[in-house]
């Protein structure tokens, strides 16, 4: 199939696209077959020449969404729109790996990370005219930390340590935490901690979820919508409070951004190539080469704010209760083969549970190298012996394990199909229920379903992701891990904190092997030629700095 991929001529690609359409039901197969060799990936061309002012950028999201309430369930569809409407106190600069000032012109913690002081930029206003002052920030922090009970809005999970905020003066807010939290500042950079006008916070649940009624201080404001079809955002001409590291410190170059939806994955490449959209999210690996070779751009946006894509382990069925079995499965995955067959050059093999560019990342790739012999040895030691059909068994039970995932990722199902083959070679049977949302509805809460394949925002560190008893990854509160998470959150010294974050990764990935890591989270965008756009560490397009060569 690699031959087909390398043929650059027009006709065969069309034929292949039509086949792809015909075989949508079997798209996974096609992906497996045609995935590799998607060369020619281009990086963002931003900064290559002077930005052009004006124009409308048409952006195609994956599915429509009608809940834009700031802190509830965190979906890309929502964050990618809200990122241009709401500002945050801080901004994570991926280049330096540091938090930089945004609405907070400076911020500092006390010695033990229980008290934080934010100095606010003067003169910032929400689009409804309200001042973004200390009182407005306090109102937002209260909503994030405690929820808004009368509007049925739940607290933001990354603000679980929040106790109270105090207005020191018009431009200064002081936050008290119930307990030390070394990740608190990072959590203020998330889109899910976006600041809205105090008037928006007064609305009921439906009102706060309605993009029409949400007023932020961001570079774009809501202009119009056709429900489930498009949202039009217009630039705010008086915007002058971008994050400190933003190249564009003023109003957006673009006049308007039109957000449309392309739930049909087969159209996304064609939409960019035909110029009907300037930017599309969720390009399939199989389409990347065609987009790049037609003079358009393939833009991978690394998910630095998220965990790597991982198969989180649930030990409820007992089959994976022994660490040795989990470690065997960890080294029984050939990640390079996964990249070569299912993914593309836009994807990076995971080196840990954190993204390679995330603060505190430790490279565990040496421990993750494919080693089927060691895997077999570990399984032998754990007492699982191969049966007549090649599948291992112990005490009359076969080593048959199940994976569940949502259908959100275009590559997750073929990825687990390949892992299924790899594990068969070491005598483990994987029942692949990836991308089956119906199964997920029950499996998500079922600790007997051994694997949950996913990735998750980790603004509050790894603790909120893997710690609580209700965590959807492992569905289990591991005492040792939780002690580690608690120490990490409480660590006041930066070096000490970094060391503990490293320890958490080693515990999750190698020692306990509760997260079988696969590839770093990345969202692959397709952009029409002449479109210049960069992305946040949470993979959201930064429309404030975007521009089109032809205006």
């Amino acid at each position: 199939m690699a031959i087909q991929e390398s043929e650059g001529s027009r006709a065969p690609r069309r034929v292949r696209r039509l086949q792809a359409a015909a075989l949508l039901g079997a798209a996974a197969l096609l992906l497996t077959a045609c995935g590799g060799n998607a060369g020619g990936t281009t990086q963002s061309a931003a900064g290559s020449s002077e930005p052009v002012k004006g124009g409308t950028l048409v952006y195609a999201e994956v599915t429509p969404i009608n809940n834009f309430q700031t802190q509830s369930a965190r979906f890309y569809e929502k964050a990618n729109v809200l990122n241009s409407v709401l500002d945050r106190l801080t901004y994570f600069d991926a280049e330096s790996g540091k938090l930089v000032p945004w609405i907070a012109s400076s911020f500092k913690a006390n010695g033990d990370n229980t008290e934080f002081t934010f100095d606010l930029k003067p003169g910032v206003t929400f689009s409804d005219g309200t001042k973004l002052d200390a009182a407005a920030v306090k109102a937002n922090l209260d909503a994030l930390g405690k929820g808004v009970e009368k509007a049925q809005i739940q607290p933001n999970v990354d603000f679980s340590a929040y106790k109270s905020a105090e207005v020191v003066d018009q431009d200064t807010v002081k936050v008290q935490l119930k307990s030390a939290d070394a990740n608190f500042l990072r959590a203020t950079s998330s889109v899910a901690a976006g600041l809205v006008s105090p008037k928006t916070l007064e609305l009921d649940n439906a009102g706060q979820s309605d993009i029409k009624q949400i007023s932020g201080s961001g570079p774009f404001v809501y202009e119009s919508e056709k429900p489930d079809e498009e949202v039009v955002l217009a630039k705010r001409a008086d915007y002058k409070w971008a994050p400190e590291t933003a190249k564009n410190q003023g109003a957006a170059y673009l006049d308007k951004v039109v957000v449309k939806y392309l739930p049909e994955v087969a159209h996304r490449a064609g939409a960019v190539q035909s110029g009907q959209v300037d930017l599309v999210r969720g390009l399939q690996p199989a389409d990347e080469a065609a987009v790049a070779s037609s003079g358009n751009q393939v833009l991978p946006a690394p998910g630095i704010d998220l965990t790597a894509n991982t198969a989180a382990v649930r030990i409820g069925s007992g089959k994976l209760a022994d660490e040795k079995v989990r470690r065997a499965l960890q080294v029984g995955i050939d990640r390079q083969a996964l990249k070569d067959t299912v993914l593309s050059d836009s994807y990076q093999i995971a080196g840990s549970i954190l993204n390679h560019k995330a603060p505190g990342f430790v490279d565990l790739s040496a421990d993750l190298a494919y080693n089927p012999e060691q895997a077999k040895k570990l399984l032998d030691e754990a007492g699982w012996v191969p049966g007549a059909d090649g599948i291992r068994a112990k005490d009359g039970r076969k080593l048959e394990v199940t994976v569940t995932t949502s259908n959100n990722s275009v590559v997750i199902k073929p990825a687990f199909e390949l892992i299924e083959q790899q594990w068969r070679a070491i005598g483990v049977k994987l029942v692949n229920r990836a991308a089956d949302n119906t199964f997920l509805a029950t499996a998500l809460q079922d600790p007997k379903v051994e694997f949950f394949g996913t990735r998750q925002f980790a603004y509050g560190g790894l603790g909120p992701v893997f710690g609580p008893e209700t965590n959807t990854q492992t569905l289990n509160a591991d005492k040792e891990l939780n002690a580690l998470f608690a120490d990490e959150r409480a660590a006041a010294d930066a070096d000490k904190h970094k060391e503990l974050v490293a320890e958490e990764q080693r515990a999750l990935v190698t020692d306990k092997a509760l997260a079988l890591v696969l590839w770093d989270e990345v969202q692959v965008y397709g952009a029409h030629e002449g479109t210049h756009v960069e992305f946040t560490s949470g993979t959201a397009p930064i429309f404030q700095g975007a521009w089109k060569a032809n205006g």
Binding site: A266, S274, N408
Partner: protein, 319 residues
Amino acid sequence: MGRYVALRIGQALLVVWLAYTVIFLAVQLLPGDPVTIFLSTDAAVDQATIDNMKRQYGYDQPLPVQYFAQLGGLLHGDVGYSLASGEPVAARIGGVIGSTLALALSAFATAVGLALAVVAAATLTRSAALRKLLTNLPPLFAAVPVFWLGLVLLELLSIRWGVMSLFPDGSFLSLAVPVFVLGVHVSAPIAQVLLKSIDTVYNQPFIDVLRAKGASAAWIFFHHALKNAAGPAATITGITVGTLLAGSVITETVFARSGLGAVVLQAVTTQDVPLVQGLVLLTATVFVAVNLLVDLLYPLLDPRILKSNGQGSPRALGV
């Protein structure tokens, strides 16, 4: 007649109530309640948050209380709240149903027209080859999946030739193409059944009598055969409402149109159980309503229905 109508309406209401009950019970069979399921798609949430939200939406009440409270709400048109947007389910569905209805009704009219045209042409043509070709069209229509036809047409019309947008833009083609795609698919079973029953009618002696009297082929087809063959086609038309709804969902997704399709997709991906519940109930109600309509139309097509004892569906007569 009055007794017949009252009976049919009573039965329809009973079916809707049973459907509601089954849906309610099915939701109870899920592990966890709607709130837990919804919140679990996100990061770990603490139990206090879950309990709080359950209380707000009434999921902490004993089952019988929930059942009757929801049933009572239903009678007032209140189908609960979407957990994802906090919007009432009825408002969420009501906001988009117009778009789906426009698509589905136009597609339905297209389907009936297409089926009639194919059947009339196949019956009236003198060319055996053309008749063979035409009678093979409905199985072909049935075999072509809605999404495939939609994808191919969009690939050609939008991406390759650039005559229409990938997105709904209010142009003629942006409605006509999805309507055609869905209409073709829905026409297949109607045309198939109509062809078959026309065949049966043509084998009956009265057709020979009409021919002997010198009636033209077209006169026989439109004035006599069609009405006699319409019964089974009407039955299958009632059943195609399911195909029509499912097809609308797929067509809307392919053509990026707003409508029930997008809502279904959202409700399922965000695991918004109350919204799914509302959608399933709506589907059941539409199904029952359309079939009720067909039952009520039946006596007009075949007056023998009213002469029977009026028990059970008239279609049991096997006209």
